[in-house]
């Protein structure tokens, strides 16, 4: 299983799956933060976007993802102030420039993005901004890998770990998983040659009966990760349980803002509470995210569900597995 959706896109775009010998099958992992963000949080973002005086800033990927009734894009069309930003620090700049409006950044992401989201809060705190907050949907990878390996329907023999997550967190936290479940875990990059080398390293370990952590992406991933980035994460966030779309609640699988920074927590600031969500379409995103269903095996792929009219997030995110197959793969392939 390649963990990261960026790796899925690299594999499908470059036709690597078709070149692999029989017996090696790639299962696409959950590493798409937009895809695993629960509908409830998307509904919260939409609610904030439609409030008077609020500017909702988001990465572009989130805009087309369907919530219970609509997407952020539709909320914008109806008059909500939804702005696409490249970086959470851009949202801090907007808050600084427009002090009479409340600016909320929709802070989705894995460990790769956690330092940036944390840094936005630390900078806003340093600048004394009272009009900046984040709607947090921060998730972390290792508990999800364990959830996948504990699932009786899963058949994963080895992992290509997400290189950029490892650039922050290092490799240490993967050793216990490799040991406990007997699976090789290779921190892998995103170029076609990186992916092929990562697959080779998994296969070599499996053939020699080994299961440990190796680093294919050593040019960007120091074994210990980026300690300064982890310091910044720890200053702002503590570990908490999180709901994942397709998985449900996974213990200790995400971050929330620590006590000194609760004024920057949009959920608390705007009194957002748990709401009923509805997903009345037939999206099978959960099965795709767990690697149980290939996108092209979904009955709605390419007909009822496409990037223009998506049923679920994996069809619209730049890291979604369904989008990768829609853009790059032949619909007739039978992998």
């Amino acid at each position: 299983m390649e963990v990261c959706g960026g790796q899925t896109h690299g594999l499908v775009k470059n036709g690597i799956q078709e070149l692999l010998p029989e017996g090696i099958q790639l299962i696409h992992g959950p590493g798409c933060p937009v895809c695993v963000t629960p509908i409830e949080l998307i509904d919260h973002a939409i609610e904030l976007a439609t409030r008077e005086g609020v500017i909702l800033c988001s990465f572009g990927d989130m805009l087309r993802v369907p919530g219970s009734d609509k997407s952020l894009l539709q909320a914008r069309a109806e008059g909500g102030d939804v702005r696409v930003v490249y970086s959470p620090l851009d949202a801090v700049d907007i808050a600084r420039e427009i002090p009479d409006r409340q600016v909320v950044f929709f802070a989705v992401g894995f460990e790769t993005t956690a330092p940036a989201n944390a840094l936005s809060v630390l900078q806003a705190d340093r600048l004394g901004l009272k009009n900046y907050s984040i709607l947090t949907s921060q998730v972390i990878v290792p508990p999800a890998l364990e959830a996948i390996l504990d699932d009786p329907d899963s058949s994963v023999d080895g992992f290509l770990a997400a290189g950029h997550v490892c650039a922050i967190m290092g490799l240490e936290e993967y050793e216990p998983i490799a040991h406990k479940y007997g699976v090789p875990i290779i921190a892998t990059g995103f170029e076609p040659v990186d992916l092929v080398q990562g697959i080779l390293m998994v296969v070599r370990q499996l053939e020699s009966g080994q299961s440990h952590v190796e680093n294919q992406y050593s040019r960007a991933v120091p074994t210990s990760g980026n300690t300064r980035a982890r310091d910044i994460i720890q200053q702002a966030f503590s570990v908490t349980d999180r709901k994942w779309r397709g998985f449900g609640k996974i213990n200790n699988s995400g971050y929330r803002l620590k006590e000194p920074f609760v004024d920057f927590d949009a959920a608390r600031k705007f009194g957002l509470t748990s709401t009923d969500t509805k997903s009345d379409n037939d999206c099978r995103a959960g099965d795709v995210l767990k690697g149980i269903l290939k996108p092209i095996s979904c009955p709605h792929f390419g007909n009822k569900c496409n990037p223009e009219h998506p049923l679920g997030a994996p069809m619209v995110s730049s890291e979604g597995a369904c989008a990768a197959y829609y853009y790059y793969s032949s619909i007739n392939e039978t992998i």
Partner: protein, 82 residues
């Protein structure tokens, strides 16, 4: 979203506050302002990996060469040549 792109540092603005240290980074023909607080040792001429406007890692030239050497052994390097 975990996408990160390597770019070369062209100039650095050394803000007094380390949280605000930033650089102009060139990605081919595109230049962007990038926060450097996670890579305090990075300087002009270094390649950094940039994710959502923040450099998350300095690319190790020796390790990059080592990867290229491994790929060369595998006979893959010809594919990389223009």
């Amino acid at each position: 979203m975990c996408l990160a792109i390597p770019g070369k540092i062209e100039s650095v603005s050394n803000d007094r506050d380390p949280l605000l240290r930033s650089a102009t980074v060139a990605f081919g023909g595109v230049r962007k302002n990038v926060n450097l607080c996670l890579v305090p040792d990075a300087d002009i001429g270094d390649f950094v990996l940039v994710h959502v406007g923040i450099a998350i890692s300095r690319i190790d030239e020796d390790e990059a060469r080592s990867t290229l050497a491994t790929l060369s052994e595998l006979g893959e390097i010809e594919e990389l040549s223009p």
